[in-house]
């Protein structure tokens, strides 16, 4: 295993009390594997991404559990030692690439800085050659000119390509991509996803892709972990989870997706209710209040039960049939008059 996260819990201090953002989360990532962590806002998925390279400090949150990377427990390392892992072993792609680039320095300057500070023996000319190679790798046309551009002179998609070039510049073994395509329009989004997929094949990097978008997970991931209210509620191979979701929350997520070829003005099936308040999470199943299948037993906390060798779901009644979910979630409603 490349990465192993064990019993990770993250509590943020807030004025309303401790927020239990992530609760006893365990997850592993194999060499060259792409795993998607899917969930809505506030499900704790971004906290997991930030906690792995040690970016959540003790001053803002209490963290417990352990994180193992290539057999070393990196969660115990002091920040000075952790620094050596960052960039070289684990790197990160951010949602808003333009905001993640220094606005007063050219993108080439930032890339060269990354290459040269991490490899003192790299000559200026070889660093430049490597930078051009990286820009070509991520599909930036006219790389020589683009090296001298400032972030505000580049489009959003171009900034994301630069970000990816920066992230893979030191050949990391693991890439954490937090909503890498959310800020981009659809055509650029597809290009970026294809790029990420090509990169894993080419340089063998593993990817944890954090997203709220099931289609991104479908397009990219080998495995999917669905998060809800700080817990993984379903885990398994992407094809299986996305085709036959077992946990009612995952099913509900699918129901709330707009369908291609659906009626104009058709109501999307929103999940009723709100996610639980994480300052005082429910004792039992965290989805029970919103679940159409909830029974008395759901008042006690379900584990992440194994369903098959590779699949797990945090549910006492892992449902097979999407049809059944459909009847309960898709309460037929008269289509409202088209708005536009």
């Amino acid at each position: 295993m490349l990465l192993q996260v064990q019993d990770l819990s993250i509590n943020y201090a807030s004025s309303a009390g401790r927020v239990h953002a992530v609760d006893n989360l365990s997850l592993s990532v194999g060499e060259g594997e792409i795993i998607a962590v899917v969930g809505e806002s506030g499900s704790g998925k971004s906290s997991v991404g930030l906690a792995i390279p040690g970016l959540i400090t003790a001053s803002i949150a209490t963290i417990s559990g352990s994180i193992w990377f290539k057999g070393e427990e990196i969660s115990r390392l002091p920040s000075h030692d952790l620094r050596k892992f960052r960039g070289k072993e684990i790197s990160m792609i951010f949602q808003n690439a333009r905001a993640a680039l220094n606005p007063v320095r050219t993108v080439g300057d930032q890339l060269l800085e990354t290459l040269q500070t991490r490899d003192k023996d790299l000559s200026a000319s070889r660093a430049r050659a490597r930078a051009l190679e990286l820009f070509e790798l991520v599909g930036i046309s006219d790389p020589i000119t683009r090296l001298g551009a400032y972030p505000h002179q580049l489009s959003g998609g171009m900034c994301q390509r630069v970000m990816i070039a920066l992230a893979v510049s030191l050949d990391p073994s693991l890439l954490i991509a937090d909503e890498p395509t959310s800020a981009l329009d659809v055509t650029v989004k597809v290009q970026i996803l294809q790029l990420l997929k090509r990169l894993t094949a080419q340089i063998g990097t593993s990817i944890i892709i954090i997203t709220h978008d099931l289609n991104v997970a479908r397009a990219l991931a080998d495995r999917v972990a669905v998060m809800y209210a700080g817990q993984i509620v379903e885990l398994g191979p992407a094809v299986d989870v996305l085709k036959t979701p077992k946990m009612p929350y995952t099913q509900a997520l699918f129901q709330s997706l707009p369908r291609l070829g659906g009626e104009r003005g058709e109501q999307l099936a929103a999940i009723p209710g709100q996610p639980p308040n994480l300052t005082a999470p429910p004792q039992g199943c965290r989805f029970a209040d919103r679940c159409p299948h909830a029974a008395n037993i759901c008042q006690s906390a379900p584990e992440l039960f194994g369903i098959t060798d590779s699949r797990k779901a945090r549910c006492f009644f892992p449902h097979d049939s999407l049809l059944r979910a459909q009847t309960s979630f898709n309460q037929p409603e008269e289509p409202k008059a088209a708005i536009s």
Partner: protein
């Protein structure tokens, strides 16, 4: 880009000329409208109204307002600022001899202010909300609330009267040695610099706090850079813009502060010249001073914008 900056500066300087003329005209009008004039002052308390009138017409102060202003303006364009009504000097001579202490004081104070405020502001931004930050905040509030003359008097008591380290008042001119000159300015420069620093540190602290919590600093951290590199090459470089503006703006308050501080420390600079010229209604001196101050202010503003453009690639000309 270099020639761009040059053309831009020229354009800004040309645009500054009307500003200077308007300010000069307004001050001329104000001194004309306020009751009393230099004739009253020069003729003395015992003078009869006839004697005052005589002095007045000999100085040309009884001529119409516009005529007086135009005469002055014509003189200005031929490089002649006129004669002081009170001092035995031309305005140009008086300004020149008084400018040195003030420029030295202003630069010294500003160096102290920047050297103090920028590092404190950056660190306060880094440890925002922490104990260090709160201490800096107390300093910033105190520095703005306590006027420089109070600090000045405190420094005189401590460093001159009790410790006898520096002379309490007076100024050593540059031609008598740089060190002596700086030594005579240590206390006034600290008194003035602390107030300047308090203003600059507040701006620096809040922008640096924003930069420290920005995505690109998180991204830089994620690239494994050292703390030092992140602070110097990323945070400070990205967040220095507002600090540069603050330094520029603070030069304007420096002029106000210098007037008071020069009185406390008995420094024969432009500030002292200004107060005495107001007392004696020495209009040509006042006009000359206001002209110099306005021109300095306009030039500093242009300089600030040019430096700003040099550090921020988003600013174009």
């Amino acid at each position: 880009m270099g020639s761009n900056i040059f053309a831009y500066s020229i354009r800004r300087i040309v645009a500054g000329v009307p500003v200077v003329l308007i300010v000069v005209f307004l001050t001329f009008a104000l001194t004309y409208l306020t009751p009393g004039d230099a004739a009253v002052y020069l003729a003395g308390d015992d003078a009869t109204p006839e004697q005052v009138q005589e002095v007045r017409s000999s100085l040309g102060l009884d001529r119409p307002f516009l005529e007086q202003f135009l005469t002055w303006l014509v003189g200005l364009f031929s490089g002649n600022l006129g004669n002081s009504l009170v001092l035995p000097q031309t305005v140009g001579e008086a300004l020149l001899i008084r400018a040195e202490p003030t420029i030295m004081l202003a630069l010294f104070a500003q160096v102290i202010a920047v050297a103090l405020a920028v590092p404190l502001g950056v660190l306060a931004g880094k440890f925002y909300g922490g104990r260090f930050d709160r201490a800096v905040n107390v300093f910033a509030v105190a520095g703005i609330a306590v006027p420089p003359f109070v600090v000045g008097i405190g420094l005189i008591l401590l460093l001159s009267v009790v410790l006898a380290l520096f002379p309490a008042t007076g100024y050593v001119r540059l031609e008598d040695g740089l060190l002596g000159s700086l030594g005579s300015l240590v206390m006034p420069a600290i008194a003035l610099g602390l107030a300047q620093a308090a203003f600059i540190v507040r701006i620096t602290r809040s922008t640096m706090k924003e930069v420290f919590s920005s995505d690109f600093i998180l991204a830089a951290t994620m690239r494994g850079f050292s703390e030092k590199r992140i602070v110097l090459k990323h945070v400070v470089r990205a967040g220095i813009g507002p600090t540069i503006s603050a330094i520029g703006v603070s030069f304007a308050t420096l002029i106000n502060g210098a007037i008071v501080v020069e009185i406390v420390f008995n420094i024969p600079g432009l500030g002292r010249l200004l107060t005495s010229a107001v007392e004696s209604r020495d209009v040509p001196i006042l006009q000359g001073l206001l002209l110099v101050i306005t021109v300095a202010y306009v030039l500093l503003n242009i300089l600030t914008d040019v430096v700003q453009a040099a550090v921020n690639p988003k600013v174009s000309f």
